[in-house]
């Protein structure tokens, strides 16, 4: 009984404060399991479950002089960092962002000053290294106030480049070029987002495929697959108008086909069939493209709010009118 209690006490004590603080080891190598995990994350499978244990990690054979890199406890963030640091000895301080990437977590404040200060203290970082510098990813800055960290934890925050892949170059001079400081949204970045966009509309998409509504399926695919690819080349600035344009182009063949499907019918009937497509497809596509603002790297809240007020009523009226006409035409036929 006594032995049992002692064991329990020991375990309880360990779970509260591990001393010396545990430093886990990691490498720069990505395994097949890592790649599989990344693939699942990109397809939004178990979206909140791609986590790394928060805390301090050693990479290679670090000394007390080695640099400390800060990241989020999302596998894609952690793996991007460690795989970019091939051949570099250092420490990785993983903040608990609940499995969210650095930029999104910083926007929410979970990748933030409080968590950073707490994690520095919990890992006793000041005993592990003899310098007082942290390399924090630039995109962590919306959550971290560098001067606050200095005041509270006595560590100087140095904002590294946006992309982990630029770290080896950055470490040579400890200076990021303007190019390293810019966030991009390349074709590759946008294509990477397509699976997540598709999964977001998966249930309606499957239902529409089953009931054979080709126009609606095309509208969904235009908004989730074509739009991310074509984004910079579609005219106008606003995402809604880009969506109306893309949806309009997609609707065109459907409208034309509907118009010529029953040449024996009355002209008004054939025109109304065409109109249904012209109303429904662009409104659905535009709604999806407006929602794509959340996936981009550059839309401001002010701009998105303006778009919502300016275009959502139009989308709703078009969709409602298209739906009513569609139902009415079912009775006519």
């Amino acid at each position: 009984m006594i032995v049992y209690l002692r064991k329990r006490e020991k375990m309880a004590a360990e779970s509260i404060s591990v001393y010396p603080p545990e430093i886990r080891h990691t490498t720069s190598d990505l395994t097949l399991a890592n790649t599989w995990d990344h693939l699942l994350a990109r397809w939004a499978v178990n979206r909140m479950g791609h986590r790394v244990e928060p805390g301090l990690y050693s990479l290679g054979n670090p000394t007390p002089e080695s640099p400390v890199f800060v990241t989020a406890n999302y596998t894609l963030s952690f793996d991007a960092l460690r795989s970019a640091l091939k051949g570099i000895d250092g420490y990785i301080l993983v903040l608990d962002t609940h499995g969210i990437n650095v930029w999104c977590a910083a926007g929410k404040g979970t990748f933030g000053t409080d968590e950073l200060v707490r994690r520095i203290e919990a890992t006793r970082l000041h005993e592990v290294v003899n310098h007082r510098v942290l390399i924090v990813p630039q995109l962590g800055a919306p959550g971290v106030a560098a001067h606050e960290v200095k005041k509270r934890a006595h560590f100087k925050v140095e904002y590294g480049p946006v992309r982990a892949e630029d770290l080896p170059e950055y470490l040579k001079t400890r200076k990021a070029t303007p190019e390293m400081r810019r966030v991009r949204f390349t074709l590759k970045d946008r294509i990477t987002l397509i699976p997540v966009e598709l999964v977001a509309v998966l249930i309606p998409l499957l239902i529409l495929i089953v009931i054979g509504s080709k126009g609606a399926v095309a509208a969904l695919l235009a908004g989730t697959v074509l739009f991310p690819i074509l984004l910079p080349w579609i005219p106008t600035h606003n995402f809604s108008t880009k969506g109306f344009i893309l949806g309009g182009i997609v609707a065109l063949p459907f409208a034309i086909a509907a118009f010529f499907r029953h040449p024996e019918s009355a002209l008004w009937l054939r025109s109304t069939w065409a109109l249904v497509y012209a109303l429904l497809i662009p409104s659905i596509t535009a709604y999806l493209t407006l929602n794509f603002t959340g996936s981009t790297t550059f839309t401001s809240r002010t701009g998105v709010r303006r778009e919502i007020f300016a275009y959502i009523p139009t989308m709703a009226v078009m969709f409602g009118a298209g739906l009513l006409l569609n139902i009415a035409l079912m009775f006519v036929r």
């Binding site: 606003n238 959340g294 550059f298």
Partner: protein
């Protein structure tokens, strides 16, 4: 043609600037640039209101109503009556 993103809530008071360079470092869209010993707001329309510059400016020379520019989150917040738009 109406461009919803032409203006935003970013405001900068250069008279308070101490030339620490942090706004230039944290902005992901190059809105600020060092000219001599002070930072200048050279591309305000590029601002996406992430709030990094405001949070990191040690002399509070920058003001921006930061938030996530995501229509889905904002529409969801409006529909559910939540104040703060968040990711699904």
């Amino acid at each position: 043609m109406f461009n919803a993103y032409e203006t935003n809530t970013l405001q900068y008071d250069p008279s308070l600037c101490i030339g620490c360079d942090v706004c230039v470092d944290v902005c992901p869209h190059g809105a600020f640039e060092m000219q001599g010993r002070l930072a200048y707001l050279i591309n305000a329309p590029a601002c996406m209101e992430c709030g990094a510059c405001q949070l990191n400016c040690p002399v509070n020379a920058i003001r921006v109503e930061s938030g996530v520019g995501c229509a889905a989150a904002m529409i969801r917040a409006a529909l559910t009556g939540r104040k703060e738009p968040v990711c699904a």
